[in-house]
Amino acid sequence: MFRKIAVAAGLMAAAFAAPAQAQSYPEKPIEFIVPWGPGGGSDTLMRIVAQGLTEETGQAVPVINMPGVGGNVGLAEFAKRPADGYTISQIHEGLLVSNQTGITELNWDSFIPVALVASSPQYLTLSKNDNFSNFEELVAYAKAHPGAVRAGVTLGGIPHVHIAMIEEAMGLQFSYVGYTDTGERIRALMGGNIDIAIGDISSAKQFVDNGDLIYAAVGTEERTDDAPDVPTLKELGMDAELVITRGVVLPKGTPQETVDALEAHIEKVMQREDVIKLMKNAGADPVFYGQEKYSAYLDKLNATIAKLVGKLEG
């Protein structure tokens, strides 16, 4: 996951030369609170967006990392900031899960979702072992041996939700081992200390190419360009989407014209070729959902997580 910091920092370096644009918003620098530590997926992708915004609007968009308690520290601080459009922040699926499991009071609707900008496909990744080497074998083995397959997840986090979705759809039962960081999970897979985990393209691709790990399935609608041989869960008979999406939010109470202006700026940012390329390098698909589509998406997602939350609690 640290791999991504590089992409971000490159942007910082180029951040200074930016053309100005004649528009009322923004008139001064916009602070971008990223509620996660430097070097993580959110940090990298949001730095790419911040850089794009800087070039698009002509105003500096400094990223401020405020990690802690699954994003809650930064978002709590963000919620207190004036709703004038000069402080923006970012959320992802993790917030919805934290809300449902009672870690935080905040949820997506505590803020104004402005635009969804990045979607990272998640891959079901297997360690090399004697019992299974693809999705069908995994399902067969796990059916025959309930609880024998060890899944590495962030307990009560998004990876847990994803594995639980597979469990539910396929009628399986795994046992869980807590690993909070994608890098740690990949390492544990390599060492054979866990059997399956959810990983993204940038953290596991090299090991898959080298034959150390196996991508069993990808959680997108269609096969990905990065790993065209990996079947989707849909092809394998499971109707579920395993992605992590990240979007920009504003505090409640921000004037509608400011929200619209920011949305328009982000839409332009997401059409920039450099932004698209950098995001792909960082292992995410650049996308753009505006306010309404993003809200609808989050609402639907919230319902899915609420349904599964019983499987996570405890």
Binding site: G10, G37, P67, G68, G157, Y179, Q206, F207, N210
Partner: protein, 506 residues
């Protein structure tokens, strides 16, 4: 292979690369010398600058910052008694007393040479044995990590100072402090009293700065008897650079053992320089014929602690170059800098980009030479720090600590924690509690807890700890270590029964 080696060498020995590396080396040393600023921070700040460079050039510059940074911590450890980086805690034990006894030049020289040899030894191990060591490091499961931490905890016995019980209390306080905040598995908040202050937990760097820096700075302004503002350093200083080099090399066992500890700990993802620094010091003390001299300005102590932390630089690169798994945050940033240039670091790096891998080895050696030259040339300048009157040093260093603590997470509450922990640290210091065990507890506690819980989740059977061979060996070593410490403490107590009583007065 030779082609790749030469291609790598050609790039590293280009004039501009060497110039940038020199600047990087100086920057790393300075950043690490300032308490509160860390090597990681320096590397993150260097990162954007390397993007305009060739991949190997960029990595070489970052390596020079990295290697310089592992030495820079020595300077404030020796001259101010404050670890400049988390990995120079043990360096304060002997380098500071040595400097206070009027040999600051020797303390610095010893540390610099030890760092140099430590880096070189670690680089050699990296070149020779990276792939097998990396595979072992990855195979280690939660059982082995837990057993290793148990073993590392037994070194508290070497750090207790005058009183075993107070040392143990300090160590357990450290373990306890680290449990406050979100729990490492599920993020459920623990013992936070629902306050914003404690909700995110107590960051290690903030605890370190508070416990060591703030308490040390406050005790600097105590007035015992006459107001002494005299210069610490005599007018004529002889660094005895070459004599000290021989001195370091004359104790090859200590140097080699400490470096190997650094390499091995560095190769374990997630362990890191601070553990290596303390562990190497502990092992040197245990195998010394004169363990009672440790803590009073003993040369072996300085060498062990500095060789130990510097060797983690090469050690951390082992899993990174061999497998693409970073050993520490700094290694992760190195990997990131390559990724931006479209080079993905992984198990195929040595095959796909051999010139780069060899270039990195060369850059490590060049960086350590540069560190040596820069340090030897500028030692006299560093010693000037001790000439600056207290009224400037103390408040200014406090400001640096504040900046370091804040810049970590951009949380103002971390500054309040810094104040509270500083006060507690000062109180503990005044009551003759040793502070190093507390810091050790804070470092090791979360790793111990995470791996214990992980081990039991993977396999609810407790006996697995004893049936997995490496785990069993480490636990046996921990037991032996405890027995050994108890025996030597009893022996020491018998030997200086009257002397310890003197220690107790204020």
């Amino acid at each position: 292979m030779l082609d790749a080696f030469l291609a790598g060498a050609h790039q590293v020995f280009a004039f501009d690369t060497l110039t940038y590396m020199l600047i990087g080396s100086v920057a790393g040393i300075i950043a690490a010398a300032i308490p509160g600023f860390t090597v990681t921070m320096a590397i993150i700040l260097t990162l954007p600058l390397t993007f305009a460079m060739e991949p190997l050039q960029g990595v070489s510059v970052m390596l020079s910052v990295y290697v310089g940074g592992y030495t820079g911590g020595l300077i404030s450890a020796a001259l101010l008694g404050i670890p400049g980086t988390p990995s120079s805690v043990a360096t304060t034990f002997d380098a500071f007393p040595m400097a206070r006894k009027g040999e600051p030049g020797r303390a610095l020289s010893l540390g610099i040479w030890a760092s140099f040899f430590g880096t070189v030894i670690s680089t050699i191990v990296l070149i020779v044995a990276a792939p097998p060591l990396a595979l072992i490091a990855v195979k280690l499961g939660p059982w082995e990590y837990f057993a290793l931490i148990v073993f590392a905890l037994t070194i508290v016995a070497s750090l207790v100072g005058n009183s075993l019980i107070r040392g143990l209390i300090a160590g357990v306080i450290g373990l306890g402090i680290a449990t406050i905040g979100p729990d490492p598995m599920m993020g459920k908040s623990r013992l936070t009293f629902d306050t914003d202050l404690l909700m995110p937990g107590l960051p290690f760097l903030v605890v370190l700065i508070g416990i060591f820096a703030i308490s040390q700075l406050l005790s600097e302004v105590e007035i015992h008897g006459k107001k002494t503002n005299q210069a610490l350093i005599p007018d004529v200083i002889d660094f005895k650079t070459w004599k000290v080099m021989r001195e370091v090399l004359m104790a090859p066992v200590n140097l080699f053992r400490s470096s190997m500890i650094g390499v091995l700990i560095g190769a374990l993802p997630g362990a890191g320089g601070s553990i290596a620094n303390l562990l190497a010091y502990d092992q040197a003390k245990r195998s010394s014929k004169n363990p009672e001299k440790f803590g009073e300005g003993c040369a072996d102590g300085v060498v062990a602690s500095e060789a130990g932390n510097s060797a983690t630089a090469g050690g951390g690169l082992i899993p990174m170059i061999a497998l693409g798994i970073p050993g520490s945050a700094v290694d992760a940033i190195l990997m990131a800098s390559l990724m931006v240039h479209g080079i993905s670091v992984g198990p195929r790096l040595i095959m796909d980009h051999a010139d780069l891998a060899y270039g990195m080895f060369i850059a490590m050696i060049v960086s350590s030479l540069m560190m040596l030259v820069v340090c030897v040339a500028s030692m006299r300048l560093f010693l000037r720090v001790t000439d600056i009157p207290k009224q400037f040093i103390v408040p200014t260093v406090i400001i640096c600590c504040v900046i370091g603590a804040f810049a970590l997470n951009n949380r103002v509450t971390d500054l309040y924690l810094l104040g509270i922990i500083g006060l507690v640290g000062y109180g503990l210091k005044s009551l003759d509690y040793p502070l190093a065990p507390l810091v050790l507890g804070v470092i090791l506690g979360p790793i111990a807890e995470t791996n214990l819980r992980r081990a039991l989740m993977s396999d609810p059977d407790w006996t697995t700890f004893f049936t997995r061979p490496i785990s069993a060996i480490l636990l046996a070593a921990a037991l032996l270590s405890v027995i050994f410490s108890v025996r030597s403490i009893l022996k020491m107590r018998k030997k200086n029964r009257p002397a310890t009583d003197e220690q107790d007065g204020d």
